[in-house]
Subunit: 448 residues, 2 copies
């Protein structure tokens, strides 16, 4: 096997492309990077003799199949909704396929087709999902191997920015990944398990009812809000009878109360357009959410504070004010939903500056019984990026893809069918190699 096709040349692709190109001469690989933006694809490859950047409109079946047909392993960083079609191509043309996206039910249905052709489809091979699965499963398998019985598993992760880069930003948050997903985060109902009982947190309480966790090296606790799909991990991780299972998202202290304020006002809703949105100001938008009459002479800001049960100079109100939600500036977006208006505003205010360093924090917390003793184990990763162009986020999404592609290219993978990285033969070599890139989990154990 000599030919690797990488579909997509965006942010998450860069680390993956760099990784495979660095090893291309040694292994005699040829790497094609395909993107709708030809210049970007060419730039990612540079003048590497073993690579080429090409133009591809991934929605065009024939062009896509032409490229896939000439490769041995396909790494897809295309938008998730395209993966089903690409998977179909790979079955047809007998190619292995690797992605960092969540594996959909429709893709799981293709498992037999991949297996029958002795192919592997590896999904969720990025950071979250990806490194979360691998690092958790390594600990789960270790604990089980020594005879431990796991009674509780909480897994929390967040993509943040180093505190010293956030001094002018009262939210202490910037976008390091998909802004739309941040705006929509938590919509629906979070579900998890606690002491053998199912728990539900509806969206309107999700950011009010956060937990606090401690991360080594930080003086203050972090906030964690519950993810929607914790229960899916019972089966995937072989924890079917576990009494407590929780997954959450990590933010710096102070974030959740302020985000909750945006939810309560109504600004995260993407289901209806604000009428005349192109003509009105942010101040008028806020006023449009005030239905109760305020005290005589009360400003819009004072009335919003009252609605939220805050005082006008509280930390939450300062964050709203800093975003410019009370400014008389025009929104200038036609037929926009509140969520779109918010996203547009946050894109300006939460933009990563050139020298900003992002931080990935991931922490697994296990409780288990071993030889009659109750123990609690924390396994924590804290990894900083270099700057806005070389983020820990992009590296940790892209590197597992590259490392796993190398395993496949060098014939070290015998699994077939649709997989996620929860098996030892898959996660072990990837985690081992990731250590060279600083992906090291520090452990702390307590006897309870």
């Amino acid at each position: 096997m000599n030919n690797i096709l990488i579909l997509g040349a965006g942010r998450s692709a860069s680390a993956c492309i760099r990784y495979v190109l660095e090893r291309a001469s040694e292994h005699n690989w040829f790497v094609i990077v395909a993107d709708a933006d030809h210049e970007l694809a060419a730039k990612r490859v540079g003048n590497h003799p073993n690579g080429r950047g090409v133009w591809l409109d991934a929605s065009k079946v024939n062009d896509r199949r032409d490229l896939i047909g000439r490769s041995d392993v396909v790494i897809s960083l295309l938008p998730p909704q395209l993966h089903l079609e690409v998977a179909g191509d790979c079955i047809l043309l007998k190619k292995h396929l690797i992605t960092a996206s969540y594996v959909s039910k429709d893709i799981y249905k293709l498992s037999d087709d991949f297996r029958n052709k002795e192919l592997i489809f590896m999904g969720e091979m990025g950071l979250d999902p990806g490194i979360d699965h691998m690092s958790a499963m390594q600990k789960i398998d270790e604990i089980k191997a020594k005879g431990g019985k796991i009674t509780s598993f909480s897994s929390n992760a967040g993509g943040l920015v180093a505190l010293d880069c956030l001094k002018k930003n009262p939210w202490r948050y910037k976008f390091t990944w998909n802004p739309r997903n941040v705006v929509k985060a938590g919509q629906g109902t979070a579900q998890y398990l606690e002491n053998g009982k199912f728990k539900y947190i509806p969206y309107n309480r999700l950011f009010k009812e956060y937990r606090l966790i401690e991360i080594p090296g930080y003086d203050e606790p972090f906030e964690v809000y519950a993810n929607r799909e914790s229960l899916l991990y019972r089966e995937a991780y072989g924890l079917d009878d576990i009494p407590t299972l929780f997954r959450g998202t990590i933010r710096y202290r102070g974030f959740c109360d302020a985000w909750n304020a945006l939810i309560q006002i109504g600004l995260t809703d993407g289901t209806y357009p604000i009428l005349d949105s192109e003509k009105i100001s942010y101040h008028e938008l806020m006023e449009a959410y005030l239905s109760k009459e305020g005290r005589s002479g009360a400003s819009v800001k004072e009335r919003i504070a009252e609605l939220l049960g805050e005082n006008e100079f509280s930390p939450v109100m300062k964050k709203l004010d800093w975003l410019g939600l009370f400014s008389k500036k025009k929104i200038g977006l036609e037929n926009a939903t509140p969520a779109l208006i918010l996203e547009d505003l946050l894109l300006k205010k939460w933009k990563l500056e050139a020298k900003d360093r992002d931080v990935i924090i991931m922490q697994h917390e296990f409780e288990y019984e071993l030889e009659g003793q109750k123990r609690r184990l924390y396994s924590t990763l804290v990894l900083e990026g270099k700057d806005a162009n070389d983020t820990a986020m992009a590296n940790l999404v892209g590197l597992p893809l590259g490392i796993f592609a190398k395993q496949v290219m060098t014939g070290k993978i015998t699994s077939t069918g649709v997989n996620i990285p929860v098996k030892k033969d898959i996660y072990k070599p990837v985690l081992e190699e990731l250590k060279n890139y600083g992906v090291v989990f520090h452990e702390r154990e307590e006897i309870l």
Copy 2:
């Protein structure tokens, strides 16, 4: 024209059927009542010589068309989603069609087809929608005719139960119409106009931010929460430039805070199933919504009270308790959403007893300028039903259909195409005849 077909023999059909049968001999009408429940259809007709109850599965095109083909005017009380098909039949077979349901966009598209065949489709000819349109348009036309300029219009309505029938019910509410619509009420975002500005109230604040109104004859004010679609009425009512336009739903004092509690807990959500719902008790369901740890030893009820910012014996908590939400009784419904569990519980607790009398309350409030003077006009309907079998609700939904059918049958209607009752030649005779049934709006005007 001699033949009337009434599709559907349910609650709202009874008053309509009674009305047309009472006039059948005089006008030499023959009335066919068709329902999937043949016995019910036959019962509604009784032994009236001019009527017959027949069996019909309305989803069967040929059977439906056979009946429609033999009629002159069709009154449909079928579920709203069937009206598009019935409308198609009526165009094909050249029949007039009358319904009490909201007119969908798809039906409006058929307006030319009805008009070209000199047929009328009359929609929204019930109570709400129906009597609300007619009574409001009568006042709007009167004010305009005398040269008044309307600056504000609020229209509120509610289907309630007489206070003396509610002594044992702390919610002071029972179902007199579709329970599912009550559970889902307000989901989405309410929109209205105030002083020339659009206003939005998201669902999570809708039942917190109610208004109070006074109704003549009652000592205490009523609560009003905003309806979703107030803005639609600008064009329909010819009020395109009106600065303030609001529509709301009326409840007795105390209802909205308690309903808001159900929303905040998460019980009105119909989008996901409660896991193991058939096995757990209401008490366990409430516990499943508690994510924060309570004070040591705090009961589920105490923790829910804390979550809601209530004390354990507050009026809101008493209402939740009265529903049985803290009882150890099993829910006993498989794979049920929270909304379905709530609906099932409310069906038992909010059931109309045989002797209960319902009350329809409708109030229009206009502000207008006439000869340099600002005036405020209240136009209010309060109408009680007789008992659970003869409700004001069913009468006021069914009578306008019957009365309007008579107008069509006796050749008094010249309008064609798709209509709602906002024109004088349509609403005037209907409102006039409704007075005989107690539908009298009392007016009070203030000079401001």
